[in-house]
Amino acid sequence: MATTITPTPGAKSATADAARARKKLPLRPWLRALHRDVGYLAVGFTVIYAVSGLSVNHIADLGDPSFKDVNRTHQLARPRDTSTEAVTRAVLAQLGIDVRPSDVYRASDTELDITLTEEHRLHVDLARGTIQEEAREPRFFLRLANWLHLNRGKKAWTYLADGYAVFLLFLAASGLFMIPGRKGLLGRGGLFVAAGVLVPVLYVVLSGGP
């Protein structure tokens, strides 16, 4: 007995909808979840690289951002004995410094330069009764961030930094597709991507490049 199947109205479009739904389903939710989780993992690295990047970018204005130059002036309790040795002893005692100077230089009758380390010096002015203390002190966070950013430690950080770079590439790529938008990449998203690409290209062209 022959059977005839008569297509019911609307059955074709229901099949097509189901196929579209199947196509839509897997990629975007996965992308969004991965983008979010990779974003979480990237927060610590991003803070380190961004803060260090800003400070290193402005190295010409700020000097070495890993350190701050300290310049303090102290009043000198004038010693009776103004020989080089006596003044040196008195100054170190007054400032509570228990370091043997690497150099002591009598620049004049009234001036004495005491070098404790390359980064720590005292200029004594007997005429004015002052001690000018010059030191270079590390900035805790910036020094660590720059040490990591500039990969001064090498070793395993090279691989971790490579991993972070791959994460950034993934974040950039997944960001393109995770929210469809009305026109996809043909709309505003496309314009922004083009602007992001054009800015460095134009900069190189207009500045004459390296």
Partner: protein, 227 residues
Amino acid sequence: MARIEQRRRFIQRALAGTAVAALGGYYFLSDDLTRAARAESRKDGRPRLPPGQRVLSKLRPMGGEPSDTPPSRYRVKIYGEVEAPFELTLAELAELSTEHSVDVHCVTGWSVLGARVKGVPLAKLAERAKPRTKARHVIFEAAHGYTSNVPIAEALRPNVLLAQRLEGQALPRAHGGPLRAVVPDLYFWKSAKWLEGVRFVEHDEPGYWETRGYHNHADPWREERYG
């Protein structure tokens, strides 16, 4: 639809905020010190503040690799195309020093006006060294191989100094202490920090920054920043 409206409002506010911040930055940059300096002129008729500069109240440390020579062994050599080369200790330089008020202009866009500097005019040291007639340029030689070049006529102007003190104090190491050149009428990179030698030469020798894209002459009034 409501989300689209919200997004538009957010973008509008973000743009407005950016514009306000930019205008605030512009106002900040055109500060009182700079405005006052722009109204002044030098004796030679040029404006006191070169174009593209803003005034800071004190020198800004600009990096570089300080000298590691201890003061007791520090010497500066005056030599090259001269009849009587010589060396001076810091104490000998201090004896010859006098106080000067100088304006300095950094290529990055800041200037400090009327800085109180104590030092020896290079012209005074040149009188003793007696440059030969063929000497045309002066090379300032600093720690770790840094050099800068200045035409001899400009290097021997009375305001060009070998400076040891700034604002009544020993010149801080970050600013080139114990000894730096000060060449007020050229961009400040010409004023070599941690100065170890002044060499008179016949032929020009572009220095550290001059061979890295910066202008060979560096006149701030002509904005000779880049080569």
